[in-house]
Each structure stands twice: as C-alpha cells, then as structure tokens.
Amino acid sequence: MAQAQLPVSGEFSAAGGHHPTAWKWYDYFTFNVDHKLIGIQYLVFSFVFYLVGGLMAVVMRTELYTPDADVIDPNLYNALLTNHGTIMIFGWVVPAAIGGFGNFLVPLMIGARDMAFPRLNALAFWLLPPAGLLLVGSFFFGGAQAGWTSYPPLSLITANTAQSMWCLSIILAGTSSILGSVNFIVTMVKMRVPSMPWDKMPLFCWAMMATSILALLSTPVLAIGLILLLFDINFGTSFFKPDAGGNVIIYQHLFWFYSHPAVYLMILPIFGIMSEVIPVHARKPIFGYKAIVGSSMVICFIGLFVWVHHMFTSGTPPWMRMFFTISTLIVAVPTGVKIFSWTATLWGGKIRYTSAMLFAIGLLIMFVVGGLSGVTLGTAPVDIHMHDTYYVVAHFHYVLFGGSVFGLYAGIYHWFPKMTGRMLNEPLGKVHFILTLIGANLTFLPMHVLGTQGMPRRVAMYDPQFTQINQICTIGAFILAFSVIPFLVNVIWSWGWGEKASGNPWRALTLEWTTDSPPMIENWHRLPVLTHGPYDYGLAGHAPSETTPSHV
C-alpha cells in the first residue's frame, strides 16, 4: 500500500544514537511509539475507512434513485446507514482530525520530541483496528441496523449480535479517544519549548486543547450509555426496556450528552487546521488570535449544554425545549466569531491559490450554510417540523462534509510535504477541489428542500413525489465518489515519485517547518528556539526562507 513508498533516507543522523535514522515501511504496521508515525497510521487507517464509508453511501444513494426499495434489502439499507454514519464519525473524521493531525502536529508545533506518553499514544491507536474489524465483521451477523444513534428499544430487538459488536466497537474507539485526550493535554501543558508562552502557541494546538477537554468530559457518558445497552442486550438487564420498567429517554440523554459535543470534536480540530492554513497561504497574521482561542473555549463550554436540541420532538418537557433552544442559538455566536476572523485574515493578504487554500476557502462558505441551517434547527418550533427529515441530513453534511472533510483535505494538502517529504501535484489537487465542491453541493443542497417538503430521513423507500430531487442528489453523490480518484492518484503517485519537498515549502512560521521534511526521529537535532510568533507574516525581520536548517 501507500505507506510502502515512504522514502527511506539515511541522511539524517539521529540524536540518540541507538535509534534507527528513519522508519522503514514495515514499522508502520507495528506498535511504534513515534508520534509522527502514529499520526500517519491514524491518517491512512482513517482514510481507508473513509473509502469504505463512502462506498456504503454510494450504495444507499443508488437505492434512493428510485422511490421503491428495489436495489437492496431494506434491512441491509439500514445496516449500511448505521455503519456509514458510525464509520464516518468514529472511523474517519475523529481519528483523522484528532489522532492523525493532532499526533503528527502537536509535538512538532510546540517544539517537543514526542508526546508526553508515547506508549499510551500507540495503545490508543491500536485500539482502533479491532474497533474497525468489529464494525466490518458485524456485517456477517446482519450489521447493526438501529442508526448511529442506536436508540432503544429498536437497538435491543434488531440484530443482537451485530448490535453488540457495534457497542463494543464504539466503546473501544471512545477509550482510544479518552487516552488520546489525556496525552494531548499533558503534552501541551508540560512539553512546550521553554521559549513558547501560552499566547504564542499555534491555534491548532489550542483547538486540540479544547477538543481534548471536551472529549474527556463527554466520552465517558457515551461509554456508560453503551455499556448499559450492551447489558440490556446480552445480560437480561432492563435499563432501557419500557415493558420491564426501563426508560428509553434516559438513553437519549446519555447518548446526546456525548454526541452533541462529538460534533465539536469533529469540527474544533478542523477550525485549528483553518487557523494554520489560511494565514500561511494568505501571507497574513491571523486576525484575532485571542478571539479564536477564546471562542474555542466558549464553544467547548456551551457545547456541553445544548444536547437536548436533538430531542425536541422526543420526551422533552416544555421548559427544557426552551432552555435548549436558547443555549443552542448562543453557540452560533462564537462559531461566527471564527468565521469572521478567518474572513478578515483574507483582507489585505496576498493569497496563494494552492489546493490547501482552495479547500480552506471552500470550507468557509460551505460551513456558513451549515451554521445557518443549524440555527434554524436549534429553535424548537421549526425543529418540530424539520427533525428527522432530510433537512437535518442536509445540515449536518454541510458542517461535516463541507466543514470537516474539506478541512481534512486542506490539512492534507498543506502538511503532506512535511509528512512525506514530497509535494502533492497541484493541478490534480485543483481538479479534486472543483469536483468535490460541485459534488457536495449537488448532493446536499437539494436535501434541504426534500426535508422541508416532507421526506423523512433514514428511509429506504419514499413517496414518489420526491423522486426528481433524489435523483439530483444521487448524481451529486456519484460525482463525489468520482472526485476521490484524482486525490488517490495524487497521493499514491506523489508519495512515491513526487517532487521532493524542502523543509519549509510554504515559507510558514510555525515550528513544524523548522525541521526537515519528513522530520527526523525525535524531530530536531537541537530543539528550536522561538524568535517570533506563529503568525508574524509581514512583520519586519520574520521573512522565513524556504530552507530553514534544522540545526541552527
């Protein structure tokens, strides 16, 4: 596979002596403790799962080309639906953004040689392959079919074995995420180079800080919910069995107490990527550093108190519907602050239209759509109509595809040279961007209309009045599927044979660019000393050159 082509170069001399100079391809399949290698493990692993989840989506969209359930069995449709959602969240966005970019970048950005607990770090990664296998394996038992939310009682009475495997898989992924979070927090608190005060820490690291705190506070609650579910299915307990005195609403609270914050777990690291990519390619200091840090923290806090907006039509008393309407609306404010800050960063810049920058600007616009539809959903009166319709599907794909996936692509185009020592091909990157932009809007924009008009979500068959719009969505999905090809070709080809990258091809100012590409094991011969802020573009004396030697 792709990792095999990683250039193995012996020209660095390792700091510690007993270390090898660079990792061999097979090291990527082992329990290795280097944060960079782990980061790449996460990224490649999650991308494979992205392809699997994407394939499931294509099958579902094919089914929805016609109103009747005529392509696949409706139970299989539900299994695909459930695993598509689960894989995209727990197998792609979370591990890629947090595990992948977080692990690769945080130590490099703060001038550390590794994470605080390297073994824990490797362990956190290696919890994921079994989690993935459990999900894939569950298809031999029919696949979990109760949606990624797995509400009981449906999840208690459908495909018990597969549902249990699903629970175990998520519990593993959650454990991995908790371990990772502890590691990030300790690393950032303890291991910054002495010359880096908190207010000179790159914004990506701040985003990882907010993400980790949120993950630590919310993930255990999900784990509790799923363990109880697992007990109900397998050990005869009745926490969520209504006919035996159980309460199905409690599950929804436990689930959403985690899963609303989870949407921020999936977007805060992406916001961090945005704050790195935009200044570099616009050649501008980030606008409003403190506001961006502050808004991450505010999102992280308020984000813990909005979960009931997923339950407006469920078992929710009136005062709660109103309380959570207002808290939800308030989250839009710090989110807006970030959007406006990035927009202002563009002002007066000298914008380089690299593929990374294109995806970042595309994200800005897509995310505005998703944020605005989120506000409409956040109010109980409108949500009573829109809940569980295609309008919601449109909303979360604008934030998750237009936001998280665009951001992951921006990050890959930006840091690929650092990770592999090779440049990606820019023209192919632009083709990829255009196809993705068209495909995403064609697929998801019409869904707003579907939902408003009356099409519920999670259905394998629908009223024939919705046929036309569904066909547009399906064509969009095919374009999206196709858009991955230029990207895959680009990554595989460039990794093996692409143009060699210098240490700092974008002339960026954060510390990861002060070492070679790819960085040596343990990152630097001698740790860098901070002489300027992370975003001091255009400020006298900080014109970075393309090749910053790593041993100054």
Binding site: A146, P153, W347, K350, I361, R457
Partner: protein, 297 residues
C-alpha cells in the same frame, strides 16, 4: 469604478442584499401547504430566520469571495500581506450583533412555541379525555358500552410530553404506533388505519407506541411528536383545510420504516359525522340502534 466613494458601494450592496433577503423571506419557499393553525406560525418564524440567513450568507460569502479575488497574489509578488493582527471594535461588533440576533430569535421562538401550545404539554388537557367527545355530550359513552360488553377497559392515559391544551378538545383520538402501521382509536369505539378529523375543530391525539419509538408527523400540519414505548405523548392542533395529507413515521423503526405511511383525512363536520356513524355501524352493529337514533335526530 475606483472613483465611486466606498459609501455608495456599501449602500448599493446593502440595498441589494436587503431586497434579495426580503424577497426570499416572503416566498414560503419549499414548504408544503399549510393545513393547521400551527403551520403559519412555524412558517412565519422559519421565513424570518431564512431572511436573516440569506442576508448573512450573501454578506459573508460575498465578502469572502470579494477578498479572495481582490487580495490574490499578483504575478511576481512574493511579499507578505498587511500585518494586521486584530481590531477590537470590529471584533466587538461581530460578537455583539449576532448575539443580539440570536437572543431576539430565542425570545421570539419562546413566543411561537407558546402559541403552538408547547407550554400546555402534559398539562392534563388530554389526560382525562379518553372517553370524551365534546361536541356531542349527550351521546352515550360508547367506550363504556364496549367495556360493558366485556372488552378491556381503556388504560389510563397520562401525556408527559408534546403539544397540549388546557381546554377540552372537540375530538380525541388515541394513536398507536407499531412496526409498521399507525392505528387510530376513537372513543366511539372505532378503530381505523387512517386518521379522520373534522376541520376547524380542536383535536387531541394521545400518542403511544407498542414496540419501538415511532414519530407521528404530518408535514402539512408542521407537527411531529415521537411515539415512545413507556411514555405517553400528545399533540393538540386544529386542522384548517379540508383535504387529505400524509402521516409519516419520522423515527427510524426498522427495515420498513420508510413504508410506515398513512393519511389523515380532514373532513367537514357533516362528512366527519357521517364517517363516524358509518364506521360505528360497521364495527359495532350491536350499537347500531343508539347510533341510528342520533343519526336521525
């Protein structure tokens, strides 16, 4: 172009954005027809938000695209941009203005929600009414007759959540969701697969589920309420337009969830009474005498 002062540009853009937003907010784009008293409330509120959203989108996306074009790298220019790191008053504006907007929307949504009957949920309006049917108080109680015949007495219903009302509804129907059908039970002893209600009369739906969670949704009414095993829920509304509309299950309930659809028939009062009479006769011939008396009255 350069000669025009910035204020004129700002003004033109402002007027354009306002016009487009006003237009978009007044179209009731994409909504199905309005067939309940709640529908115009929801639509009006949505359209207000849609108007604001269109304006914001045009402004933000327009600014992004304008900056992206205006501040592109010019050939041969390898320099950096303006080293601007922030601007307190600008940041205060774009924090405070959205904050005011969302707070106003929040307050407004409380009001809309109240008008929709949201705060009357679980208030007891529907709880003692399983056997009542306000518009014909002199009629014998068929549900009691049924239980006199040895059928099971109706279980007590205690709505906890939903949209309710404190006054007696004109019609009360018990709605039961099950994989994959909706069953409608009338206090007159009628059981039906579709919902029949009179127009312009207040209707109380007492909603339950027997197996998994379902969700009762009529897009034309803009109303949705989950049917939850173990928790009784309710919906109180008044249909405003004669016609028939889809009833859709909106909560994933299994493989055939998408096929769990039926219809609601909104009748004129006379049609409704006729429907009641016919079905009472068909389902309970033994009651035909009582019904016949009333039908000829």
């Amino acid at each position: 172009m350069k000669q025009l002062p910035a204020s004129i540009w700002t003004l033109t853009v402002g007027i354009l954005v306002t016009l487009i937003a006003l237009w978009a907010g007044n179209q009731n784009l994409f909504f199905p027809e309005q067939a309940s008293v709640q529908a115009p409330l929801v639509d009006h509120f949505f359209n207000l938000m849609f108007m604001i959203a269109v304006a914001l989108f045009l402004l933000v996306a327009g600014t992004i695209i304008f900056f992206a074009v205006q501040y592109r790298q010019r050939p041969g220019d390898e320099g950096d941009g303006v080293p601007l790191e922030g601007d307190f008053s600008l940041e205060a504006y774009w924090t405070l203005i959205p904050a005011v907007i969302v707070i106003v929307l929040g307050v407004y949504s409380v009001q809309v929600f109240t008008e929709m009957g949201g705060f009357a949920a679980g208030g007891g309006g529907g709880n003692h009414l399983l056997m009542s049917h306000g518009h014909q108080p002199h009629q014998p109680m068929p549900a009691q007759l049924v239980s006199d015949d040895g059928a099971e007495p109706a279980p007590a219903f205690k709505a906890e959540y939903g949209l309710g009302g404190s006054e007696r509804p004109d019609v009360t129907v018990t709605v039961t969701g099950m994989q994959y059908a909706w069953i409608f039970n009338y206090p007159e002893g009628i059981t039906a697969g579709e919902l029949h209600i009179p127009v312009n009369k207040s209707v109380q739906l007492n909603i339950k589920a027997t197996d998994v969670i379902h969700s009762f949704w009529v897009p034309q009414f803009r109303l949705k309420q989950d049917a939850i095993p173990g928790h009784d829920t309710e919906l109180r509304f008044t249909a405003t337009k004669v016609g028939d509309y889809p009833v859709v299950c909106a909560e994933l309930c299994g493989g055939y969830h998408g096929a769990m659809r039926t219809r609601v028939y909104v009748h004129t009062q006379e049609e409704y009474d006729r429907w009641l009479a016919e079905n009472q006769f068909a389902q309970h011939p033994d009651l035909s005498k009582a019904v016949a008396v009333h039908a000829t009255e």
